[in-house]
């Protein structure tokens, strides 16, 4: 079942991506992009990253792609325009793309990932203080939330307990406390605000200028 789901999502993701490249009509491209990104969200779910998957759905599929389609509608002169590429370019792109793919895949398969493998994500959260319900496996929303607020239940608290149980003693405990992602979170928030203002400024209605000679 798991393998089936993975293959399903992987195939639709890859196929969607390929279709995006090969399709000429922009709106169809967007549609394929939705398929691809939705499948990526599915991949996230099967990787136990349900929060990321939900965010992927909400922001990417629900937001960004709609934005893109919106852009298409604002910028196309007649319905169903397709700006055709030069066939030579397609061939060129295919060759380079295949080479690139071969390279990346070769790298992927050249490294022995198995030796580094370790399952870490949010299985046991005994460090959580009381008052929280114990999340079932695969639910990382709480951990991510607390991490974004600057507290790492998965890491510091667990470690503290581990040290307390006598494995390494207390000596390294101070160095092991990680600070979470509060600052990056804030930075990203401010960044988003700036982008919002900037985009509004860039896209504000202007009088159209005649096409330049170039």
């Amino acid at each position: 079942m798991e393998t089936f789901l993975f293959v399903l999502f992987a195939l639709s993701a890859c196929g969607g991506a390929l279709a995006v490249v090969l399709t000429q009509n922009v709106v169809r491209m967007a549609f394929w992009l939705v398929i691809s990104l939705g499948s990526v969200a599915g991949l996230f779910f099967s990787l136990d990253a349900d929060f990321v998957g939900a965010v992927q759905l909400l922001i990417y599929v629900g937001g960004t792609v709609v934005l893109l389609i919106f852009g298409v509608m604002l910028t196309s002169k007649e319905p169903f325009t397709a700006i055709k590429q030069n066939p030579a370019e397609i061939v060129q792109g295919a060759v380079v793309g295949l080479a690139f793919l071969a390279m990346v895949l070769a790298t992927v398969y050249a490294v022995d990932w198995q030796s580094h493998q370790a399952v870490v994500v949010g299985h046991e959260h005994d460090g959580l203080p009381s008052g929280y319900n114990r999340p079932i496996e695969g639910n990382t929303a709480r951990s991510i939330g607390t991490a974004l607020l600057g507290v790492r239940f998965d890491r510091d608290l667990g470690k503290g307990g581990e040290h307390a149980s006598g494995e390494h003693g207390h000596a390294h405990r101070d160095h092991d406390v990680s600070t979470g992602y509060l600052l990056p979170f804030e930075v990203v928030s401010v960044h988003l605000l700036v982008v919002l203002v900037g985009a509004a400024y860039l896209a504000r209605a202007k009088r159209r200028r005649p096409v330049s000679a170039a």
């Binding site: 370019e89 060129q92 792109g93 380079v96 793309g97 080479a99 690139f100 390279m103």
Partner: protein
């Protein structure tokens, strides 16, 4: 007084006076920032200012009562019907007086005036004056080493009396100003004194609100100065007062004369303040404390200045002789402060502080700013130049009295003596009604300084208060005249105005009589003493002090004769002014026809002030005012001193002064009547023609009209030398410095020309070659820059792949 009562009374006084002090500041802030610049016709700022200062007056009255009650003194040495003219607040203090009256009733009847003097003198001789003073700290600004810079308060009889006087007079003047400044209540004020090219007058929006804001700020500064508990704080408010006077004198800033006068006042004051700063530095370096005195029994850890200089009974403990002479400083156990100060340094400090007083109180030789300051509106003149600002100098001299050595006192006396004579003589010939008053102010300030200098501490301050009342009264009267005559200030164009403005005329008469010190001779009422207006009592006291002093020190007998003669001159020029203004034939019919009595808002303050000008000093030396001061008088003054200081000065004691009192009073009265008679002959009866006299003493008249040529003197002494030095500097600049620069410039040009050849031949050529090579390479590379986004991406992909391949080819093993 127990510490509990002390702190209770002290904090009550503190809060009352602080509220009275800060209210005008509040008014100022509201008036400036309240948006009245948008509504030029609003009278609200005026009402606000009046409200603030009047509330301050009420608070001051309560404080006065509280203080009197706390000091447990008997203000009224005579038997009285329980009514004191000195403070009109009766209701609040009825209990007080009642108590005093009952206690003294029996034997007060039996004793004569003399006895009472003794009784009251003895009473406060025994007392430490600091016992009736309250001090404390508002806020510590900072501590630098052992120096505390703090905001202190110091409240004694002098403080409360000054508070009541300042707030009362300021209230009256504020009310008067509502009427006087009413022509500023417009969007288009036409200033007839500013002539623009083309015969036009200057137009501007009215500044009614601004005037009252300045007045409020001024009151705040003056009250802060009086309340200040340390010399540094005094300096701060001193400067604030200066700034306010600058703003007010220069109120009609568009008039050249006004702005010049404001500058003059400000700069003259700076000269004095320079001395003040020197004094401050001496105090800082030697005493390390700015506080006047620390009278709080709960915090007696640090002694104030007065406590350090003088012992408990007010003596100056000295050691050594001549330049080696030092003054031992009193100590509180465990304080790390110098134990003595060189005598000459203390003198320098005193002279420095007094220099500040000279500037602020317009004493010789810095007196010239005050007449020019008459350029401000008349209420300003009344407030700034009669009652408060100039009084600040006298106040400081009095407040700082314990710090002054006999040498300083002698200097003060002579400065005052010179000033009073100069002021009076110039006032003889001036024809501008306000300037007459200005010179009389200078003269009267000289009297006060003289009194302080000759040891009449109470006399000087007595005169300060009485003068404040009658001089502000006269200024307001003159303001009323000017207002009524449509801004005509020349007395030569007035005359016969008593029909047109009777209230002004007779209130002015009250002021004139008061300043001349006229009295009904040989008549003494049982409850009041001499039948006279306030000026008689205070001037009498000054003359008595001077007489005593000169009899004890025959070398300095000039210090008695000059003020005596000047008393006559005073009477002459004051009555001259009155007669010229209100009597005789109208000299300018245009002015006369349009003259009118002022509105009630202006005459009411005149009546109030004339009431006080008559009654404020009632009782004379035994009256409440003197008694009030007696409690604040420095301990060493009352008993006098013999062979004091390095110059062996004999300072009179209260008793000695009293012995000469009647004698001096008769002399002064005589001289004053003589002056009055002379004025009547000259200007009222027409028996003597002033013109003839003027022609006969042509040169003297010229000299006086030129104000003793002080402006010319200062021009010679300061401006000319500066010009000469400046021309030297110009020459030096022109010939030496410019020559050097020109020479170096031409040599640099020579070098540069040679360098240019080298540059062109060597440097430029090599750079050009490099540039050409770069250009050709860049031209070749330009082909790569297609501007096609997609090609760039493709190029990146291709590059990555080829890099990868290359890495694998060249580093296969890794």
């Amino acid at each position: 007084m127990s510490p509990e009562i002390y702190s209770e009374v002290g904090s009550l006084l503190k809060w009352l006076l602080t509220a009275a002090w800060l209210l005008p500041l509040l008014g100022f802030l509201v008036e400036i920032f309240g948006g009245y610049w948008a509504d030029r016709k609003s009278k609200v700022p005026a009402y606000l200012a009046v409200g603030c200062i009047a509330t301050g007056f009420l608070l001051s009255l309560i404080a006065l009562g509280t203080w009197v009650d706390a000091a447990d003194m008997n203000l009224w040495a005579f038997e009285s019907a329980g009514h004191s003219a000195e403070h009109g607040e009766g209701a609040e203090h009825g209990d007080d007086h009642e108590h005093a009256t009952v206690a003294e009733h029996d034997h007060a009847d039996a004793h004569d005036e003399e006895h009472h003097e003794h009784a009251s003198a003895d009473e406060h001789h025994g007392n430490d004056p600091l016992k009736t003073a309250f001090s404390g700290t508002f806020y510590r600004l900072g501590k630098f080493g052992r120096l505390d810079v703090t905001l202190d308060w110091y409240i004694d009889g002098l403080t409360v009396a000054m508070f009541a006087m300042v707030t009362l007079i300021a209230s009256c003047i504020h009310i008067f100003a509502i009427g006087y400044m009413s022509d500023e209540l417009t969007e288009h004020y036409e200033d007839h004194f500013v002539h623009l090219p083309g015969g036009r007058h200057f137009h501007r929006p009215g500044r009614f609100y601004r005037f009252f804001a300045y007045l409020s700020l001024f009151c705040f500064s003056m009250l802060g100065l009086v309340l200040a508990g340390n010399i540094f704080q005094v300096f701060i408010f001193w400067e604030l007062v200066g700034v306010c006077s600058y703003l007010l004198i220069g109120f009609y800033v568009e008039r050249h004369s006004a702005s010049t006068a404001a500058n003059k006042a400000f700069i003259m004051n700076r000269v004095g303040d320079f001395g003040f700063l020197i004094g401050l530095m001496v105090i800082w370096t030697w005493f390390g404390v700015f506080q006047f005195a620390n009278t709080d029994p709960a915090h007696a850890d640090q002694a104030g200045l007065f406590q350090m200089v003088r012992t408990h009974d007010g003596t100056l403990v000295t050691e050594g002789e001549g330049m080696e002479k030092t003054v031992s400083l009193q100590h509180i156990e465990g304080e790390a402060r110098p134990s003595s100060i060189p005598y000459w340094l203390l003198t320098v400090a005193g002279l420095g502080i007094f220099a500040g007083c000279i500037g602020k109180s317009a004493q010789f030789p810095l007196q010239t700013w005050l007449p020019d300051a008459m350029e401000g509106p008349t209420p300003v003149s009344a407030l700034v130049h009669s009652a408060t600002m100039v009084a600040a100098g006298v106040y400081l001299a009095a407040r700082f009295y314990p710090m002054f050595t006999p040498e300083v006192l002698l200097v003060i006396a002579y400065v005052g003596c010179i000033t009073l004579f100069i002021g009076a003589t110039i006032a003889l010939v001036v024809t501008d009604i306000k300037r007459v008053l200005a010179y009389s102010t200078i003269s009267q300030l000289g009297y006060m300084m003289l009194a302080l200098g000759v040891g009449g501490w109470i006399a000087g301050l007595f005169h300060l208060i009485t003068h404040a009342f009658f001089k502000s009264l006269m200024f307001l009267c003159s303001g009323s005249v000017i207002h009524g005559c449509h801004h005509e200030q020349e007395m030569t164009k007035m005359g016969g105005l008593y029909k047109k403005m009777p209230i002004t005329c007779w209130t002015m008469f009250v002021g004139v009589v008061a300043i001349c010190g006229l009295a009904i001779p040989f008549v003494t009422l049982p409850a009041i003493g001499a039948v006279a207006f306030s000026g008689f009592h205070s001037k009498d006291a000054i003359i008595a002090s001077a007489l005593t002093f000169s009899s004890l020190n025959p070398v300095h007998s000039l210090l008695f004769y000059v003020p005596l003669i000047t008393a006559g001159i005073t009477a002459f020029y004051m009555f001259r002014m009155w007669f010229m203004t209100f009597f005789g034939k109208p000299k300018d019919h245009h002015v006369y026809d349009h003259a009118h009595e002022s509105p009630t808002v202006m005459t009411a303050p005149l009546l109030i002030l004339s009431f006080f000008a008559i009654f404020v000093a009632v009782g004379g030396e035994a009256g409440p005012l003197v008694t009030l001061y007696g409690a604040a008088e420095p301990a060493h003054v009352a008993m006098g001193a013999t062979d004091a200081g390095n110059i062996g000065l004999n300072l009179p004691s209260h008793e000695q002064i009293h012995n000469f009192h009647a004698q001096a009073g008769m002399a002064a009265l005589l001289v004053a009547f003589a002056g009055t008679l002379l004025a009547y002959l000259f200007y009222a009866s027409g028996a003597v023609d002033p013109g003839t006299v003027k022609r006969q003493f042509e040169s003297v008249h010229e000299f006086l009209v030129d104000k003793w040529r002080f402006d010319v003197l200062y021009d010679w002494m300061w401006q000319r030398p500066v010009h000469v030095v400046a021309s030297w500097c110009t020459a030096f600049d022109k010939y030496v410095l410019d020559g050097l620069i020109h020479g170096s410039a031409s040599s640099v040009v020579k070098i540069a020309q040679w360098d240019r050849k080298f540059d062109e031949a060597v440097v430029d050529r090599s750079v050009n070659v490099l540039g050409e090579v770069t250009m050709s390479v860049a031209n070749w590379f330009r082909g790569l820059q297609t501007g096609q986004l997609r090609q760039y991406v493709m190029l990146i992909a291709v590059s990555v792949v080829s890099l990868f391949v290359l890495v694998f080819i060249f580093f296969p093993g890794q």
